[in-house]
Symmetry: D2
Amino acid sequence: MKIQVSADLTYRFPEPTQIIGLVEAAYSADQIVVSEKLTLSPKVEVMSDAGLGGERRFRTCLLGDVTITYRAEVDNGDRALVPRNARQHLWGELPQEVLPYLLPSRFCPSDQFQRFALREFGDAGDGAGRVMAIMEWIGRHVDYVPGVSTAETDAAHTFTVRAGVCRDFTHLGITLCRALSIPSRAVSAYAVDLQPPDFHAVIEVFIGNRWWLVDPTRLAPVAGLVRIADGRDAADIAFLSSDKPCNLVSQAISAEWID
Amino acid sequence: MKIQVSADLTYRFPEPTQIIGLVEAAYSADQIVVSEKLTLSPKVEVMSDAGLGGERRFRTCLLGDVTITYRAEVDNGDRALVPRNARQHLWGELPQEVLPYLLPSRFCPSDQFQRFALREFGDAGDGAGRVMAIMEWIGRHVDYVPGVSTAETDAAHTFTVRAGVCRDFTHLGITLCRALSIPSRAVSAYAVDLQPPDFHAVIEVFIGNRWWLVDPTRLAPVAGLVRIADGRDAADIAFLSSDKPCNLVSQAISAEWID
Amino acid sequence: MKIQVSADLTYRFPEPTQIIGLVEAAYSADQIVVSEKLTLSPKVEVMSDAGLGGERRFRTCLLGDVTITYRAEVDNGDRALVPRNARQHLWGELPQEVLPYLLPSRFCPSDQFQRFALREFGDAGDGAGRVMAIMEWIGRHVDYVPGVSTAETDAAHTFTVRAGVCRDFTHLGITLCRALSIPSRAVSAYAVDLQPPDFHAVIEVFIGNRWWLVDPTRLAPVAGLVRIADGRDAADIAFLSSDKPCNLVSQAISAEWID
Amino acid sequence: MKIQVSADLTYRFPEPTQIIGLVEAAYSADQIVVSEKLTLSPKVEVMSDAGLGGERRFRTCLLGDVTITYRAEVDNGDRALVPRNARQHLWGELPQEVLPYLLPSRFCPSDQFQRFALREFGDAGDGAGRVMAIMEWIGRHVDYVPGVSTAETDAAHTFTVRAGVCRDFTHLGITLCRALSIPSRAVSAYAVDLQPPDFHAVIEVFIGNRWWLVDPTRLAPVAGLVRIADGRDAADIAFLSSDKPCNLVSQAISAEWID
């Protein structure tokens, strides 16, 4: 399916600030970027490259008020739902590059969740069954509430507080999957039909010999996701990383089907 | 310099347990494995491969009491000390594969340390100067005390408690480097002259256009380190990861100069 | 019922150390200390007093190896079980001195648990019904496992890890009660039939206009408890508080029915 | 000195909510409430009482938009500064009711700070010298920055992040004092000359045989403080505690000298 995405982000940088931007649609195997344009205003030179997963970073140094504008038309192909029979792999069967996604990360301390995960989801079949049980459990036990979490909130805190936003849902889902030895990672995306419009964070799990996108918030259809980047958790896929504090002045994101 | 390393590890696995072992000397650019032998007793088939950084994992499933034995002769070449003039890079100058080591990880929440790091080390020159200032600060403010930390201890806790072992010193050093935009990672190693003999954990920083080994505990000479693996923190380089609880029954590690 | 209790504790103090000891049976309204003897060996003068709740502290300064010996015969009267119809009070009905036990404390961050507690126990009736539902939930979801917690473990960590000892069960139970506006505190005690013999930590809840003892571990009958002290959590009722590190060399505790 | 204080607080309670209010000037030994008036609008009956420390709670159940108005004229006597020679007491010398303020609490995990406190302040003399050294250290190392902390932030987090508001400064100061065996508690207050006008949180330390007020933020003179309540930390002295979420709609606080 073809999707038109756009982002208009204005930041204020009180002093010269190094940044890494991650807002462009990925050059990944699961989508084609038909056309696109990234603009910084005022104009400034950037260093761009694409990573192993197709994610595309731009790096530069910014000062004052800067607007980042991105427009793209993307064909995201076939975002299939996880098939019910996708099975979980033994560690020995996993491709080497998938192994890091079994491990705990900054916001996903899966090492602390083995007892809970096994007790709650141990009998939920295998692979897809467990992933679906985790998503249902999150939907039933965690409230979507803006404002209760911060940029430092990890999945253990969300598990206690039982509230958060897409980032928190994603961290908790990843954490529970990893605690059950299911490789899982975070994906930043543009999302058609997300209300209110914003960047979205979802989960990707490796079962049945490939990665599958899953949205623990159920706020947007997986079919309407345009991938930006993936990583161990939100730390890896921030839309803007900076070496000094800066402020988001305004933001407008959209993603719409093109018929 | 040539070094003879050996490890004899006996674990007890109460039920069939998937494991990843990371005890073999790395096939990395900075050392040559002259000869080696890995044995599991009782004998069991393992799946082995070497990662991008040369680290060598073996994966298998174990049950009961199992002894892992490793012997190797390694030429670790020239483990040079960080030169005083090695300078820090701008984000835009860093090789893409180095970027993840700027980010917070499970045990290194560098996102929380920017004010402290800048206030304490902001004037300590650049690159090597800052790294050395961090190492000296750790040596002056943190006590080497076995037993005060656990496998869940992160650098924020060590920063408060001011005590720990090599793992904790390493996490705190990495965290402070990253808070100053110096890429930093954890390295597991065999270490000549370490007392008591054990696996060791040290830091690697990327300044002056390459990685340099640094030991924040100052317990063993960098020249006597044989690299096993590197990663974002201890989560990535555990000697043994397992999907179920298991017990270390006995352990004997050694590393000695061969003349 | 009459109970004979005894404690023999040997500590090593490497340097002169201020201590507060809390091992004597309380002079509280719910038990009578028939006879008792506290001895420190070598002999040292102590400052003793009883607090508002009848708990009895001794304070002194110790050095070297010191053995604290306590023997007592206590009539603990009628340790009745919480009656099923004991109802929860409105805040406005509570005696003023009970109010602090509604609040979060060092190891009981009840402020983080309101959503979970309400969702899980909101329909479990009122007062005794909710307390019993919490105890059952803990019994079903948390494993009694020595060694997974430390002296710094709080209830949020136990809630995630789902394992601990009597101290952790008590902290989690208190936390969940407070999150539902049920006043709750920690009680240290001698406990008949506890295996292995040790000091015990249990919960006390204020419903139906008085405090009731409840054991979330179900390891010892409430009828066999001899109260030592109560407080907001383990920080208030430590058997030995010290201003410098010290080591427990040996410990023997017992509590037995006298017929 | 005579001080006129006023508070106008409007809260929105979406459903019937139990509350405890703590905004009235304390009936404590160190100040005289000359005249005062507490009004709730719309009018609602409250249950009022004064605690052992003179703090005055009102309890009631509220619904909808409610404005709490308080006006008082208070003579706060002589808020003397800590004399330089006020000495620290041995544990055995402290009044029993002071002992709880040696212990860790929800936001003041002093048990984790003993090494740091001893290393940093161990040589800063005794009693007043140490307290002053702690206040200077906080002033030099922690930035006053609204917005970086939340209602869940504890002193360990502030110690790492090195920024916060009066509540955070107070928690860190208390924590460091307790880690050195100096009894310390939190005091909520009206404060003349505080900019912007707001409730204030300061520290009280017990040295030289009495409690002394200290302001770690140095934002308002101690002479202009009107005490509301004291407690182990912010959990005990919240201006409004509620058993369900509610919103602060508007707030106006003032404190002015009466000549």
